[in-house]
Symmetry: C2
Subunit: 318 residues, 2 copies
């Protein structure tokens, strides 16, 4: 039997068919740019993509054991509903019920950050780990929490928003309307803000040339310059790591997981990012006497993370 | 059948025999002041207290289904070991194994904050609730986390230390060696510090008279004066509530529990404390659109909380 993993994002819907070991046999994509088809429902587009995927892969639907969907936004996975999605305005969309009009196999849906964490536990860098957190550093700071091998969701699936814990009371404004959230300091958007501020104060920094070559200031600018020994960039990276560590220390003290994974584009910095984080969190954590300290690694599933996470949801939910 | 609940604290060991509905049939106490008996092991003293309890209650040991122990310090409940206890120096004490030399029924041990949270779920203010956090505001800030009806412990039982999440990066020094922990702002010790600072700046405040009458500045001083309309005290209480709310908002966003309970002596302030907290946390929380907002209540098990929590551990672990 096979599984279908579907990754619904703001600009596209990706779908892949996998086996139980996480091999992606075939994949396909529908570029939506946030606009949906004639019928104007996301369920219709997901359905159309499933039909296309199976036809291209030449696999009959009877060989699909289950479909998993990883979806941005607030998801009620128990009821199979998109509560709402702030990027693309939609509310109370009964995705699973809609898809069952066309597909008879079980369909499961969950938040994309949750699904990504589960994918890492089943196929990725946290294989065999039962208690872990995946922290995704991107436009925002996302988190997926796995407790005892299962996704922790909170009431109505509205939990696991670790990006919105406060680290600096009354600090920088956050997109959520509050001040001082971890996301306002540790997201890549925040890193870019920090990088630009340091560049403005240091016209001599090599970050200016790097940004010119790349055509923009992005999450890599400071890291690239820091690897080259640029003093200002080293300061930017160190302070950014302190912000990331500050939130990780809180989560370490609350959860004491077996492992943290760092996801998002920035995780490609690998140990250059995770090794200093590990040291900072160890130095700051409560009760070092007990246990094995702390383990922070980079997420392993890159390009197919969304599809594999959704497939893992299908496999684990059966 | 009956259950024995044992509450091991820094100054005394309390023991009670209960039925399955949480009625305490008989209780007794051993004052240790942190010093243990001739054999100088905590297990000996717990054993002696069990013998005394059953004799006084006139209940044969054969009618005891299980013994539960709530113990301060770092506890490895899976292995039945006190990892260490910082108040009273001890390390790697195999309590459960020792007690089995004398008692054949199952013995369970867990951290006192965990056991208190479980007790509230089984017998107290969170009856029937499956996902909740008990936050104990006292000398420190303790937390017990119940997920899906079970205690969440983290690796080696070293998790659930929400008092040591940071709320003010590089802020006030905390007893744990770091700066800016929630405990350094939201504990009763912190409230007393905040009260004293406000009193020093405001010699006209009624808090001075209240403290004189009570013989000391304590956690009630500001609350008592605030209820009487004292402007300075109202400011102290409001700012203290902001600190408590800051941590609760983070925990709400991470866990989205069904309920928070506030424990510790200060919980006797009741709705005077919990109502403004509820409003502050609702105002600051992420994703108000989904679900039923937030519920913050006072813990209900007061004097017998330790015994009933330990008895709940015995009942639930069987």
């Amino acid at each position: 039997m096979y599984y279908i993993g579907i990754d619904v994002g703001g600009m596209s819907i990706k779908a892949g068919v996998t086996d139980k070991d996480g091999n992606v046999l075939h994949k396909t994509v529908l570029v939506t740019k946030g606009e949906y088809s004639a019928e104007y429902t996301i369920s219709n587009d997901i359905h159309a993509l499933i039909v296309k995927l199976l036809s291209e892969a030449n696999i009959p639907e009877s060989e699909i054991a289950a479909i998993g969907i990883g979806q941005a936004g607030s998801i009620d996975s128990e009821r199979g509903i998109i509560n709402y999605w702030n990027n693309i305005p939609m509310k109370n969309v009964h995705v699973v019920e809609e898809l069952h009009k066309w597909h008879s196999c079980p369909v499961f849906i969950d938040n994309d950050a949750n699904v990504a964490a589960l994918g890492e536990c089943v196929f990725g860098a946290a294989k065999g780990i039962r208690n872990m957190l995946l922290i995704t550093l991107g436009t925002g700071v996302g988190s997926g929490i796995i407790i005892d091998g299962k996704i922790y969701r909170g009431e109505y699936g509205a939990g696991a928003e670790a990006g919105h814990m406060g680290i600096v009371m009354d600090g920088e404004p956050c997109t959520c309307g509050r001040r001082g959230c971890w996301e306002a300091y540790a997201s890549v958007s925040a890193l870019i803000r920090q990088t630009k501020a340091a560049m403005a104060a240091h016209p001599e920094s090599s970050m200016h040339g790097i940004a010119r070559d790349m055509g923009e200031v992005n999450g890599m600018t400071a890291f690239k310059a820091a690897r080259g020994g640029d003093e200002t960039a080293l300061e930017v990276v160190k302070q950014y790591e302190r912000y990331v560590a500050e939130g990780l220390i809180s989560l370490q003290n609350i959860f004491r997981p077996q492992m943290f994974l760092i996801g998002g584009g920035i995780s490609k910095e690998g140990e250059y990012l995770t090794a200093p984080l590990e040291k900072m969190v160890y130095d700051g954590m409560f009760d070092k006497e007990t246990g094995d300290g702390i383990k922070i690694r980079s997420a392993a599933l890159h390009n197919d993370a969304g599809i594999l996470g959704a497939a893992a949801l299908a496999i684990k939910s059966l």
